[in-house]
């Protein structure tokens, strides 16, 4: 069994073409070429924490993958990253364990950022200003990955803490962005036509009337039944809602919250893999409001873990 630490994983990642890899994963998922059971969840009260177990496999491929990812919100106070994680690869034919990727949540962060990039590239109009809700790790990583698909370097950010907003501004200016701090999520939505939501809020931050025509929202932060960033009616009013997994988003994320609000018709909801495979056109005109609800699907983990491991083995044995 191979043990890969974060440093080597990080080196390998730089050599991989991740976008087509993750896109293929979503296509596999939506065309039912993979087995992805419901997410396993373990909750802790004191100190508060949550563990998600995401697992599955692409049929006919070599491995099955199990990812263990946790978030303990008090960690930061003790100088430990809130997010922890690892991925495990096993032989799909006999169950033998092959590798443990001690990525400390790096792979989850990367595959999540890539999914955001894919959605922005597919669904946003020409980006005039990027709006980011939140000032944490994903708020940074999304922007780094957006640089690859747009020339827009105007960014507006909103976060609860002024101190963190200012730190965020410094970091994003280093990346070449002109950064504005928003007084409110509403103000942000009045300026940005691409909004990426990355907080762990349990109270919604954006109202349906805040959203301009032609906006695309990628909702990243909510991945449980409780978390939400989009208020009642945002999902309902959108011309097109794109779920990474409809079955998963029915239980967690923004679509689940919209269902709890009483929005049960949901015929504006499609799956990301349907667009990526060419079976759905995606955005149809510049006036449409589109929302991508990304709760994180195990097939993304399967794809990225497989690519990292295959590359590792090839290098090791110089195949």
């Amino acid at each position: 069994m191979h043990v890969l630490k974060k440093k080597i994983i990080n080196e390998i990642l730089k050599k991989l073409e991740l976008v087509p890899l993750i896109e293929r994963g979503f296509i596999f998922y939506s065309s039912k070429q993979c087995i992805i059971p419901p997410i396993g969840e373990l909750l802790f009260e004191e100190p508060p924490g949550e563990v998600h177990i995401k697992y599955g496999y692409v049929m006919g491929e070599s491995y099955y993958v199990i990812k263990i990812a946790s978030g303990f919100s008090n960690n930061e106070k003790n100088g430990i990253p809130n997010g922890q994680g690892m991925m495990l690869l096993f032989n799909q034919k006999n169950g033998l364990p092959l590798a443990i990727l001690l990525d400390e949540a790096l792979l989850t962060n990367v595959r999540t950022a890539i999914a955001g990039q894919i959605c922005a590239a597919r669904f946003s109009n020409e980006i005039e200003m990027i709006g980011i809700l939140g000032t944490g790790l994903q708020a940074r990583m999304q922007v780094k990955h957006l640089k690859e698909i747009t020339k827009c370097r105007k960014l507006i950010v909103w976060g609860r803490s002024n101190k963190k907003m200012n730190l965020y501004r410094v970091d994003m200016e280093k990346l070449g962005f002109k950064v504005e701090l928003a007084r409110s999520p509403k103000k942000l939505a009045s300026k940005a036509n691409l909004i990426v939501t990355t907080t762990s809020s349990k109270k919604h931050l954006l109202n349906k009337n805040d959203i301009m025509k032609g906006t695309h929202i990628t909702a990243i932060g909510s991945d449980t039944p409780e978390k939400r960033e989009l208020g009642p009616g945002v999902i309902k009013n959108a011309d097109l809602v794109i779920a990474d997994s409809i079955s998963q988003c029915n239980k967690r994320g923004e679509i689940a919250c919209a269902k709890k609000d009483g929005y049960l018709k949901t015929d504006n909801i499609i799956e990301l893999g349907q667009v990526l495979s060419g079976n759905h056109p995606g955005r149809e005109n510049k006036m449409q409001i589109t929302v991508a609800d990304l709760t994180g699907v195990a097939v993304q983990d399967v794809q990225i873990a497989t690519a990292v491991y295959d590359n590792y083995i090839r290098r090791k044995y110089e195949i």
Copy 2:
């Protein structure tokens, strides 16, 4: 992160007092002192395989534990054990990974055998003859562990393959048993007053009229909704049925099969931890038929993994 291989785990196991450890686990479980989510399951068709993810924690203890255990029934043909497995320990306070126990299913096999021993000690009458259905690894391990709680050295076995029955006889004779081969499960049940069922059968092997008064059955083999070794009426007719976990046995194992047969009253069913904690008397007279339905609860894995890891750390740092 510590990586413990099977050899060191095996050495550590010899030093541990496992019975009270596993008993405490069942008591924690039945008194709701632990969090054990439903089992995660991943199935494979070609070649056939199943992966079970069992996980959870005892509240207020140090670790949470995730176990990954698989069974690929074609492995044996290729010289690889069907059962594979590992356990992972994480810090319950911050999610940091602490250890991976590469036990290759050893810990699962041991904690399962111990649960069988606990049930035989608690629920059987004085054992006159041990009856074992099946000739595999658990059929051997159960007997090894039964030696510690009974002077009975008479054993009757039934298996589908004569060859395997004969190999089994040789092995059990080495352990000091007088071994008889049964022509049928029915014949076995007419002679043994402790029956341990260890096959992966999907068709029942024992009928309700086969079982003698005063018999205790420990049903180990069935741990999915499909597998069953006890025929319609065995659970219903028993004077006392002991589940390792009622909620889990309602979905998988012999009780789940009895429910599918239409047995919905189930007021003869209690939980093992209730007896171990002294809240239920268990067997009340020598005539009763008792059945323990063991589907394997994650708290057993939490207990054994914790003990192995704590011992490893103590030795390593000579605390």
